[in-house]
Symmetry: C2
Subunit: 314 residues, 2 copies
């Protein structure tokens, strides 16, 4: 499929936002005015055989995920998505059907999330698929990772470990476990959960768990604070425990270190806990003044989260 | 070299613009307010063995070029660069010395062009280097490709064919021809030339010649207009003619179709010609009402620019 034909597919994407003055078709896109909002800017680079494999990622799943992982960063800032660019490297064997399916799904995702495709670069790659998305969003008051205080409560927007367990199933050709696989292939950016929480909190530290719950806790605590979380309070999918049992593995490394769940982790003052719970957020622990991350098992034993996040001993 | 060490290199880049509220270190970068300016957004994806080869692109040249090709798009809109993100895929064999040299040169280029690194994504690639840069700039009045009128004069900011001829030298291991190689390895985005021209013109159509002079002329003419250019007026480097003679090749395919010179091509009203020439712009022809691009040789013969830009018959 010729580059011009691909550009024609990209030009079909709809226009949603008056802030996008000019999309595809000149030397650059043009945006503005943005009024009082701050502009949020994020990017993720997805490489074949590093972040995904073609044999279990359909073009539809790949398009969804490439956009979703960037939307998750906008969610983590309490923002609204505005527009994105797509850098796409395609090896010569990618046929028109694959490319059309990818763009059709990307357009559907862009319509679903109301985020406009405004530019990009499509090139022939030598062997592997390359997907580089940059996404701009807006927020009146962006929610940073920093700002948590001792006594703040820790909340999450959903379940953990599913994506890592789904990857395990796909890499090992296990049948079933549809929910786990879906969690990896079709992550759901938590834009509305973040915006709702941001509205009720006068103080809020927020991040997304792209690199795992443990890493998100480190980011929220920073170098000076710590936290204590109750393992049994961390939500996980029923299939995760079934898989762990069937494979005779511990579920906790997936839950704590897994990554790619694209749920959010928040630290907020105790007086906002009830309101957060009403919005569907789930409390898993609290911020402590000493700089150690403690994971408390159901038997009451406490395990420090190691710097390396190696959980071999759980 | 671990990803965290690479992020530390990126965090050393200096801060220039008050519009960048937050760079690397949270879920997204934060920019704003942008006042009355429009935001310009461009991206280029550079893949090893498609756009460059490691054996003749040093890390320093690669860093410079990756930024320069994006800056050229901002120049083509008459804009000022503001900030950029870097998506970088590095195969496992890239050593610390290469990575440090790349980031040192990228930082030098970012300081030279006053454009801030505000985010990115560094990942391990399986075999080839991947570089994805997105760049934002600003302009009070962006200069579009469209808007040329019959009778407008066509101007260029510099010489053509050098980059393509430089590529020929490097691919064929020819010694010498330093100016041609430099044109490929170290393109100079014409930001100041564009801004100066934009100031003196009440009407201006402008684009960069990343895909060659012929393609730029097609973009400026659009489907309804044409142009006539005098081949001997198109500037080219003396080394280009030396190379063509030594290799017994025609120089014109490089000059018309070559691409990657990153010079600008402008269409502007006759009354601004003298002022444009004073700024160093070079007149090469004019816009005509009939939709055909005519290239006029020194003997007066006229050659239509074919749709395919195939110049085998010159």
């Amino acid at each position: 499929m010729h580059e011009n034909a691909i550009i024609q597919l990209a030009k079909k994407f709809p226009h949603f936002h008056p802030e996008v003055q000019l999309g595809i078709g000149d030397d650059t896109a043009i945006l503005g005015p943005l009024n009082q909002s701050s502009l949020l800017w994020t990017t993720d680079l997805l490489l074949e055989d590093v972040h995904f494999r073609r044999n279990y990622f359909s073009p539809e799943d790949l398009a969804w995920k490439a956009l979703a992982v960037n939307l998750s960063d906008i969610a983590a800032m309490g923002g609204e998505p505005l527009a994105f660019t797509l850098g796409l490297g395609l090896p010569p064997e990618m046929d028109a059907a694959w490319i059309q399916a990818f763009f059709k799904a990307l357009q559907a995702a862009s319509e679903f999330w109301q985020v406009e495709l405004v530019g990009g670069d499509t090139v022939r790659s030598s062997a592997k698929i390359v997907i580089s998305i940059n996404l701009l969003g807006t927020a009146l008051h962006p929610t940073l990772q920093s700002g948590a205080q001792p006594g703040d409560n820790l909340f999450v927007s959903g379940s953990f470990g599913g994506a890592a367990a789904g990857l395990y199933c796909l890499e090992n050709n296990l049948e079933g476990y549809a929910c786990l696989k879906e969690k990896l292939l079709r992550p759901q950016p938590q834009l509305k959960a973040a915006q709702a929480l941001s509205k009720i909190c006068n103080r809020l530290a927020l991040t997304d768990a792209s690199d795992g719950l443990g890493r998100s806790l480190q980011l929220l605590c920073g170098p000076k604070l710590g936290c204590s979380i109750l393992l049994e309070k961390v939500p996980c999918l029923p299939e995760l425990k079934q898989l762990a049992e069937a494979e005779n593995l511990s579920a906790w490394p997936w839950i704590i270190e897994g990554g790619e769940d694209y749920e959010l982790v928040a630290a907020l003052p105790p007086e906002q806990c009830a309101a957060a719970e009403k919005l569907g957020w789930i409390q898993i622990g609290s911020i402590t003044p000493s700089p150690q991350i403690q994971i408390v098992s159901s038997d009451g034993s406490r395990h420090p989260l190691k710097e390396t996040l190696g959980f071999q001993h759980f």
